[in-house]
Structure formats: C-alpha cells, structure tokens
Symmetry: D2
Subunit: 195 residues, 4 copies
C-alpha cells in the first residue's frame, strides 16, 4: 500500500506538494497580512498544482486555522488572524483543494505546518521522501515548515518563484539559509519535474 508504481520510483509517489497559506489573509487587500507582491507567487503555484493533479501527486494545503474565542499562545506576539469562519482564513479564489483522495487540508496554528499537526505522520504513511513547499511568507511559515521537515528527515525543496515576502531582504536571507542548512532552492521547472 505504501509502495509506488511506475518507472521512476524516486519521482512518482514519493514527492508531495505542500501549499502553505494561500489564503486571503496575505492576498486580499482587505486582510491584515496583505502585501501586493504576494500575488506574484500565484501563477507559479497554479502551475505546480496543475501538474501535481495531472500526475495524481499528493497535495497538502497547510493553512492557518485558529479557533475563535479560545486562547492561543501566538496572541501575545501576533494580532488575531485566520480565525475559523473569517474572511482572511478563506482560500484565495481558485486555490481551494479539489475533490480527489490525494489532495487534503491540514489545519495549522503555528508557522510550521508540522507543529501540532499530523503532517509528518501523514507524509510518512504515504511513503513521501521529498517535499516541495510553496506559498507565503518565505521567512516565516515557509522557512519554519522547511526547518521542521528537514529535522524530520524529509528532503525539502523550495521553488524560488513560488514563494516571497513583504520584506525582500528577509526573503533573501531565508532563501540563503534554506539553501545552506535545510534543503534545496530550485527553479520552477525543476520543482515541476519532481512532482
């Protein structure tokens, strides 16, 4: 059940695409974390999603989901955001999960998509060894997810065009740190070929 089929075992079936926080929060002008440059990642992410779906590659939408009315350790540091039911926690138009078994949502409450979620367990259950991570922001949730995935033994891959930040100098520094210490920063075409 965990094995992969086809001629390229290292490609098909053992790579997953994790899409982090493609939510209104960062992409909708009415929301608190909005920055206009975020929109530049949408076309690259759409392309990877299209490829992943065509090849039936596992896609995980790792998205902020805080419970309204309950205390959260992020609160002393961050303004309230992405409450369940709020506008900012909704998917950007066209980026919601589609209906197929190998495409799921993992709600998260921390920067890292692995923290207090079943993402690590789920990836191992599907025999995933390599994880392509895309979304926003490079220096916050993307980096935190890559740090944790690397710690857990996954080969972490970051396609350069499919992530950015509202602060380019912090984006650049995290790109360099990821490349040095956590995984591989590749171009979009290379990432697409891995799915």
């Amino acid at each position: 059940m965990l094995s992969t089929a086809g001629p390229t075992a290292a490609g098909a079936g053992t790579t997953a695409l994790v899409v982090v926080d493609v939510l209104n929060s960062f992409f909708h002008p009415d929301c608190g974390n909005y920055y206009p440059e975020a929109a530049r990642v949408l076309e690259p992410i759409a392309k990877l999603l299209e490829t992943a779906r065509r090849r039936d590659t596992l896609v995980v939408h790792a998205v902020e989901r805080h419970r309204p009315g309950l205390a959260d350790f992020e609160q002393p540091k961050l303004p309230e955001h992405c409450q369940i039911g709020g506008l900012d926690s909704e998917y950007v138009d066209g980026f919601a999960p589609v209906d197929r078994a190998r495409e799921i949502e993992v709600p998260k409450r921390r920067y890292s998509s692995f923290y207090a979620t079943d993402l690590g367990l789920l990836l191992r259950e599907q025999g995933v060894q390599r994880v392509v991570v895309v979304g926003v922001k490079t220096n916050v949730c993307i980096r935190a997810t890559i740090q944790d995935g690397f710690a857990g033994g996954f080969q972490m891959v970051l396609p350069r065009e499919a992530t950015n930040s509202n602060r380019p100098h912090l984006e650049e520094a995290s790109i360099e740190d990821v490349s040095r210490y956590f995984g591989d920063v590749v171009d979009l075409g290379a990432a697409e070929a891995m799915l």
Copy 2:
C-alpha cells in the same frame, strides 16, 4: 486571558472534559465496532456534557477521522474504520458539539487523542490542568489518551460510569492500571463537581 475567575480556581476554568469517540462506530448496530453495552455510557456522558455547558467549561470532542484513499499506519493492524464521510464517523445522535466557543472538535487518527493533534497545546493554552476523560473503549482509546495526558503533565480523571469496553476483563484491568499509574478513577458525581 489564561487566568481563571471565581472563588474555586482549581475547579472553574482549569478542568476540561474530553469526550472520546462517541461515534456511530461503537454505538450503531450497523457499524463495525458496535457492542450493545456501549450505550450504558451515554447517560453519564450526557450528564457531564450538560454540566460542562452550563458552567461554560471547555469540552473537546476527540474523534476518529481517517482520510479516505490515503494510507494509514493503523491499516495493517485494524480494519478500515471512521473514514471521513462514513456513517461510523458520525456522532451518536445528541452527542455532536454545540455551538459555543469553549466546545470544539479535535480529529484524531490514533488511539491517543494527543497523538499528532494539537490537543496538548490547546489544553495548555486554555490553562487547563485537569482533564476528565470519558467515552469508549476503556482499554484502547481512553487508556491511550490518559497515558499521554499524564505524560504531558495533566491530572487525568476517569469517571467510572462514563467508560466501558466490549471486553469487561480488559476494561477492569485498564481501570486498575489507570488508577495505579496514570490518574484518578472517580465516580460520576465527583467528576461532575470538577467541571
């Protein structure tokens, strides 16, 4: 935000009720884990739920939720069960969460409600120190949840009338183990007074 109000700090606000797997799976004759004696826990659990809601105590419904079509490490050992959307993963009539902030669902895929979930984090965020656990089966999900909660530093409480098993000798042994090694086994009235 994490502090408690009122005269009995040890009671109000620092105790949560965790209701484990009150799902058709165990309670509905058409489902795979059904056993008739399970129904005996429903009235005691209903009583605790009523009290918790009246006092606005935190209630967590920790419930099996497996994703259809994805591999799961439980599968070599257990028959497929509680797939999302299946009859057996639905709440028993009258035992679904009600709409209030301090009553939530935590989906789980393992016996322990703490494993690969945000339950431990969530309880700490709400300042919870004591956890009353109820539901089925005593020697499987209830015990596993209590083992993990104790490991994490919570005072675990098991009301005797609000849990059972299809195998009474295994139920009795786990009751004794819980009492000796993990927490407190109390009667229903004592548990109610803690909420």
Copy 3:
C-alpha cells in the same frame, strides 16, 4: 546509508531490539520497584541480546533517568525513582550496553520510551521497520512503548517470555490488548529469528 545489506533485507537491519528498564529498580531486592518474578525475564533477554550482538542488530537500552532536584510531572503520582546516580537507575549486572556502534542508550522519563526522546527519529534514521520490545513491566512501560511505537508506524513485536509484571492479571490483560490492538505477541524463538 539507510539501506541494508545481505540477502534478507526484511530481517537484517530493519529490525531493532529495544530493552526497557532492565535496571536495579525492578530487579534488586533493595530497590523500590523490586519483585522477585522480574528475574524470570533475564535469561530470555540475555539470549536476544546475544543474538542481536552476533548479527550486529541495533539494540536500544531505553532506561529511566530522572534528574535529581528537578520537578517532574510524574511526581504527584509516583514515588521518586531512578534518579541519575541512584542505585535503582543502574543496569542489572550483565545488562549494560556493550561498546559497539549499533548499541545505544536512550534515557527516558516516562513510561513510553518514545515520549520526549529521540527514539522514533533514531529508528527511522536507521531504516528500522520492526521493533522487538522486551523488559518490564508489561502493563506499564512495555505497553506504553508499544502503544507509541505502533502509533508511529513501527511493527511492534513482544516476545512473551521476555516481559512480565508483579501483577499477573494486569500482565495478562496487557498481553491481550497488545495482541489485539498494537502488535504481535510471539514466542522467544520467533523473536530471535527476527533480529
């Protein structure tokens, strides 16, 4: 680096032996958890250790190690035990780790050898899929370790002769629970053949 050599990949290299709490605490008459029947597991465990060492199989000694003078969440429930430097935290004579790379100690502070340790990570790094667990007590640390290992996706194996408890009825119940819900209870010869 993670691959295994030799003709029987499923046997050699992908199975580990985890020896739980073969410490004076349970085996030395002067120590708090002593019970005379514990000694019956020593010969079977010695046999498995001898086989594992001969085949260079990974052996993990998972042992209680509490830090003197620091608070521990177990304390409200359990008497102080296995403090670092104490007589009861020393290995039973002849059961200390030997000097080879694939034999290590993992200190633990909870019943489960996986809780707040690097055991799960370590086993995955070595490519381990199957874990033979031995030691004491069946219904406490052995069962807790098996519960957690199963949750993490390992095939858990318990050789019947290599574990027991001071309370035989609780031992028997956990043996049945392990067999039904967590792993395989086998005889000593079968376990030896897996190493």
Copy 4:
C-alpha cells in the same frame, strides 16, 4: 513543587537560561564550524551564566551530540559533526555545566533544542515561562530553538550581544525575524535582569 518563592515570581524561578552549542565545534580553530568572531559571545554568556548561578536560576546546556556510526537524517545536508567523543563536541573551556541541580545538559541532534528532546517538557515541569537563549549561530540553532520555543508557548528572549554568526547579513536578518515573529531581542543588561 512547581511554585516559585520570593517577592518577584515573574522573575525568579520562571525564567531559564538556555545556552546553545558553546562547543569547540564553533570556537576552536581546529574544528569544522570555527569562525573567529564566535569568541565575541563568550564574555556576555559568561556574565549571564554567573548571574544565573548566583540566583540559582535554571540553566540548560543544549548541545549537539551525534552518535558515531549511526545514520542521521542531517547527513545528506551537513558534514559529520559533533560526534560523541569528538573534540568538536566538547565544551569550550570554562563553559561546561557546573555541579548543581538546576544546571543540566540536554543533548540534541537538530538545530532546534526542542526537537526530539525533553526540553519543552522539562521547562514546563520547572514552571518556566520565559527563556533567555544564547549561543551560536544566530541564524541556525538559535533561531530554530526560538521558533520552536515560541510555538510551544514560551516567551523567548534573545540578548543581542550573546549570539552571532559567521555571516553577519544572515545574523541580522534572523535578529529582525526573531524580533518581529518569535520573541524579544534585548540588550545584555535587560536579559541579566530577567534571570
């Protein structure tokens, strides 16, 4: 047992000092991660250690300790380092733990001191709410530790003089990220006052 004594509960007893990787690896010219500027953090760290010891504040030495001869998921990315028994895994002269109950070592195998260790559990057991983190390198182990500590609900504090990196632009970016998203960057005097 978990409570704090004295007039300033928020200060004494609820803050810990975590010293990360003050090992030869980064400070000794013969070792692989050496960079000369690392030495600048030693005096500030010595000062904090002296204060913490005088006030009997909890000190945790979180240090890299890899097991020789065993596979480690870091290996495909990082050169072998800090093997147990190696020169580079030894403490810098004068920075080893001293003999008192509230000063301990936590071995780690990942950048984050919380990953696959008992650090989070230990801090909660001691009633710690605020963690002062010092050591090297700012953009790797320090940041990773602060990210995880914040995720777990601790108030993370980074004294500016007590951390640096061989790449100042990455150091600066992580300082800004920590300040924005994870905790408080303070000067040495402020950190000392918290211990």
